[in-house]
């Protein structure tokens, strides 16, 4: 039996197909302005890779900003539950999930059984989101994917304090104007962001093991900076793509749902 999870985020759309607990295929695409279209495309891509058809999907669960617009969705789940479920499935020892999405950052504390004990979103205007990094990448005219690598070459310690994404952008621009190195600016950005997210995690009590989910987790700069800020080792999801965890969680819900008929 094939079940599917689809996570329509603000920046990217993801889909995962499960066949009795095995991930048989997955897909990630950039979101279109119409979530239904994004959903259709990302699910089709995943199906194609698995060589199966929409009819084969016994149950489809949606999550993320666009969850209610996914065509043929059987039920929807909140991102919080899905990220928790997905992470706990891959790593039963996980007690805290930090998800940095496009629009917001979330920290969740997980109970042994995988239930969410407590969770918290970032404050209004707090600059700890994927969109924040995107805007900064644009301002510095570098590809998002290379941010982490570039930041590693930092030599000078700069400080960026503004919480407003747009004002932080002004700060970055003025640092550039002051002739500062891109690597140093990026490094400062990562540290600033990591500090805020760490504070978010602390606000509900940090518990190990800690994992990071969401696209931003792929940014090595943030990943290491956050580890430093929390001063612990953030576990890697043994080879699994952190960006897909939401979709995975949704797929797992789909399986449960299908099992209970």
């Amino acid at each position: 039996m094939i079940v599917a999870g689809c996570d329509i985020g603000s920046l990217t759309a993801k889909a995962i197909l499960l066949e009795n607990d095995e991930i048989i295929s997955s897909a990630v695409i950039r979101t279109k302005s119409r979530p239904a279209a994004s959903a259709r495309e990302v699910i089709q891509t995943a199906l194609m890779r698995a060589g199966s058809k929409l009819e084969d999907i016994a149950c489809l669960v949606g999550t993320g900003y666009g969850r209610n617009q996914i065509p043929a969705v059987d039920r929807v789940e909140s991102e919080i539950s899905c990220h928790a479920k997905g992470a706990h499935h891959l790593m039963p020892t996980v007690r805290m999930v930090i998800d940095i999405g496009g629009q917001d950052a979330k920290a969740m504390r997980i109970e042994e059984g995988g239930a969410v004990a407590q969770y918290r979103y970032n404050d209004k205007c707090a600059s700890g989101t994927g969109r924040f990094l995107e805007i900064m990448a644009e301002a510095l005219e570098i590809p998002l994917a290379e941010m982490g690598a570039i930041a590693d070459q930092a030599t000078e310690k700069l400080v960026i304090t503004s919480q407003c994404v747009i004002f932080a952008e002004t700060e970055v621009i003025s640092l550039v104007n002051a002739g500062k190195q891109t690597a140093d600016i990026l490094n400062a950005l990562h540290r600033a962001m990591a500090k805020r997210v760490a504070a978010l995690a602390r606000s509900i009590g940090v518990a190990q093991d800690v994992v990071m989910t969401g696209g931003v987790a792929k940014n090595k700069g943030i990943y290491t900076a956050l580890g430093k800020a929390l001063n612990l080792k953030i576990k890697s999801l043994n080879g699994n793509d952190p960006q897909l965890i939401g979709a995975l969680g949704a797929a797992l819900c789909a399986r449960e749902h299908a099992d209970n008929g």
Binding site: D123, V159, E171, K195, A199
Partner: protein
């Protein structure tokens, strides 16, 4: 002067280090409604708490909500980073809602971060009224405060000791006043930046040292040549500030000179002499409660406006910078009234809403100041 810059530019300045080495006590406080004389008389160094040099807000933001002014957040941030490890005690004063909640936030942070909470954590309840029962309440608060100090630090504070301290502080207030006289000169010899540094230093240095230093400086100033540059005379008012960089920013490129300010740090400590006979607490209470120029004393706008106009005239101020830290509505809104009433009598005003802490908005603020100066004739 160097001593002042040194004191104004760092939290744990040379004098504080020296004081600690002599194994003496230090107590921090958060508001200008607190008479440092009382601590001084108990042989304790009173230090005004500051939030300079923060490099992030993660600790501040973990306890304060997002809609809170960045000053108390920076204080908590620095406390959380161990910058206030030298304190033996701290006094929280309900200056405004944001500042009074530093009480809970600091105490709770104390559970999460090791040894950031001074051994003595006190709360001085300053009323919003300076008349009759308000003043009586405040007097009682000060007496109880003194008793708590005596109990915790195992000292006895005599009226004579208090009178002596008042005398020492009076001296400082007098000297600050004579420093201000230099500002009245048409082509003055002293920059706003330096005066502000001195008045910030006044709130963190041992009074005796402060008095010595400023006496020395005054003699230097007496023979100093006027500052160069065709500059416009400005006044800075509004939200709390101890950021001498802000003054530097305003005066850079020597287009402007700050000749007056009304800020919680700053020359508020100048002038006023307190009686050194009679009951010291009564005398301190009337001084520190009634000479307030802070909008937290609600309903006294007219008095504050009058004082502002008087200062503008006395120091020949050509333009007023009305600044407030974002979420500081007490000053921010009063600035709106000041702007209305000052522009009405032909005094140009510039309103700025800003963040406290590292001057990251330099570009934005400088832009406004430049435009403001370009259009003052």
């Amino acid at each position: 002067m160097q001593a002042f810059l040194n004191a104004a530019n760092q939290i744990e300045n040379h004098a504080i280090k020296a004081w600690k080495q002599r194994g003496k006590m230090i107590v921090g406080y958060t508001c200008s409604h607190m008479p440092p004389e009382i601590l001084h008389a108990a042989g304790i160094l009173p230090v005004r708490l500051r939030g300079i040099q923060t490099e992030g807000m993660e600790i501040g933001d973990a306890y304060f909500g997002p809609f809170i002014c960045s000053f108390p957040k920076c204080l908590l941030q620095q406390a959380g980073m161990g910058q206030y490890a030298f304190l033996d005690g701290v006094v929280i004063i309900p200056g405004c809602d944001a500042m009074r909640r530093l009480d809970e936030c600091w105490r709770k942070a104390g559970n999460d971060h090791e040894n950031i909470l001074p051994g003595w954590f006190d709360y001085l309840d300053v009323p919003h009224k300076s008349e009759g029962h308000g003043l009586r309440w405040y007097q009682r608060e000060l007496r109880n405060f003194l008793t708590r100090i005596e109990q915790y630090f195992g000292v006895t504070v005599t009226d004579d000791a208090l009178h002596e301290s008042i005398d020492t502080y009076n001296r400082g207030r007098q000297l600050l006043q004579s420093l201000l006289e230099f500002r009245k000169l048409d082509n003055t010899v002293v920059s706003g930046h330096d005066v502000f540094a001195a008045s910030v230093a006044a709130s963190v240095l041992p009074r005796e040292e402060f008095n010595r230093q400023i006496e020395k400086w005054l003699t230097e100033l007496a023979i100093k040549k006027p500052l160069a540059g065709n500059t416009k005379r400005l006044m800075v008012v509004g939200s709390i500030s101890d950021e001498i960089d802000l003054f530097h920013l305003i005066e850079s490129e020597s287009q402007a000179l700050v000749v007056a300010e009304n800020l919680c740090f700053g020359v508020r400590q100048a002038g006023g002499q307190i009686a050194t006979n009679g009951d010291p607490i009564t005398a301190l209470a009337s001084h520190y409660l009634t000479t307030s120029v802070c909008p937290r004393m609600f309903g006294k706008y007219k008095e504050r406006l009058a004082l502002l106009k008087e200062t503008i005239a006395r120091y020949q101020v050509q333009g007023v910078i009305l600044q407030n830290i974002r979420f500081c509505d007490l000053h921010g809104s009063e600035n709106g009234l000041f702007e209305r009433d000052l522009e009405a009598i032909g005094i140009p005003c510039l309103r700025i809403e800003r963040e406290y802490g590292p001057l990251t908005e330099t570009g934005r603020i400088k832009l406004r100041i430049d435009a403001f100066l370009e259009n003052i004739d």
